[in-house]
Amino acid sequence: MMEFELVMGLEVHVQLLTLSKLFSGAPTQFGAAPNTQACGVDLALPGTLPVLNRRALELAIRFGLAIEAQIHPNLVFARKHYFYPDLPKGYQISQMEDPIVQSGKLEISTASGKKNDSNSKSTFRRRCRKIDS
């Protein structure tokens, strides 16, 4: 019988603990009254513009450093387009080329002990920042 090596990949969506949203100043309090956690930028009102949340960027860089990743010196955002009623702008703001955090790794412990060799380290292919509807 052939020997198989198990390789798993996970796409993890994380909401960062910031006071306001990634591209707007609206609050992000869970369980708050309806229509209190959105502003004109979130509603994609004509003329509004996104402004990147400084704290979110700091958290991303901190995470990148923790997993020994490369931190990209430039931030490039792209628009991922599709029409959907809960996507007010008609696009997501996302990172395609040169995500802020790239090629990190994390040491894991298993039942057979701590794994040090590079084969058993988890690697982070990319970590991008994006707006989720």
Binding site: P46, G47, T48, V51, R79, H81, G90, Y91
Partner: protein, 481 residues
Amino acid sequence: METLKNLRIALDTGQFSSEELVRQIYSQLDKGPDYNAFISLTPELALAQARAADQRIANKTQGLLTGLPIGHKDLFCTQGIRTTCASKMLENFISPYNATLVEKLAQAGMCTIGKMNMDEFAMGSFNEYSYFGPVNNPWDSKRAPGGSSGGSAAAVAGGLIPATTGTDTGGSIRQPAALCGITGLKPTYGRVSRFGMIAFASSLDCGGPLARTAEDCAMLLQEMAGFDPRDSTSIQKDVPNYLLHLDHELPKGLKIGRIPAFQNRHLSQHIQGQFDQVFRQFEHLGAEIIDIELPHLDLGLSVYYILAPAEASSNLARFDGIRYGHRVKNAKTLEELYERSRQEGFGEEVQRRIMIGSFVLSSQGYDAYYLQAQKVRRLIAEDFAKAFKQVDAIICPSAPDIAPPIGESKDDPIKAYLSDIFTLPINLAGLPSLALPCGFHQGLPLGFQIIGNAFDEKKLLQLGHQYQQVTDFHLARPKES
């Protein structure tokens, strides 16, 4: 209508009040031709602002623009007043907030007379693509005023209002300024906030003033310019005093570039000679004229009509009929709601550009068109960067011809696109450019532009002001007004 400068003196010396001035503007609009330059009039707001301004003038706390009238191109969001973009899509859209530029001019004490007609979503060169009908050129009402800030230019030229705001994505301030015989400034990209300015092509859009004189444009830019934390592309750079050195003679040894090959290739035969006198005037003013070459300028048109529609197709995705704007009745499915709302809400030129933009961003168009265009855009910007090592400013015509009859270009979009051949490259390079009137052909105005290096507005305004001290084209008025 007097210049802002003269109205300032009149208000400050008590010749009349701001309220009287505002009332006089509305009564003239009631009686005379309005060239269809306005989409909305806002007398209640204007009169309230005028009374507040009169108070400030009485208390001697007025600023440069306190009590002076202004009209805003109808793509600047105005709180509580509809902002239509001259589109059926936003026919009844009322913004809950003010654009930064609107806010700044209101805080300076200006009185908002109304919202100006324009090409739908600023897409067009002759103001023929407005849901609210075409704008007439005050010099000949059968002719177009240029576009897309056609209402803004026609209202100033026709003496309805001393100044307006406009936006310039590929020439939309400078080309109508030329065709209407007025002065208009496209500032450096990032000098004026884009927040609240409904986006057409975000990397090219630029708000700026239209007025009678370079001096008036300087007064307006003084209050418009500056960093805005709500626009991440606005620049953190001090705003100089644009009025301080306007009266100074041109600096010794000033070099002005002329681009003869590019100019002659695109300028209509019958006005070829008209621009020579502009260069002669600047020689008399002490400048040295140097012939230069910018090899990639001819590609500007193709590059622009790839990049601008690409950005437009993305920026206009939000108009889907879900949250605001036109929504079709009786749609059976979500797809149908999107399709028909956008089909009904957008006019033909907007639809054409959305289709071009969607194509050049699609997987089969991206590498061949969008990416190539971005590379050529860089080459054009480098051409200018090299040129500004040789010269202090560049002068070329603002438009290749006089104002055409209304409707003439609708059958031939490429011909209409060509009318922006002289202005587009400047947006691609993100540079400032001041458009000024310089003569007439068959009774219709001609204009030229002074292009500067990034953040050289002050120099351009000084050059423009000096030119207007020795010429009187900016003082000419159409017969009707």
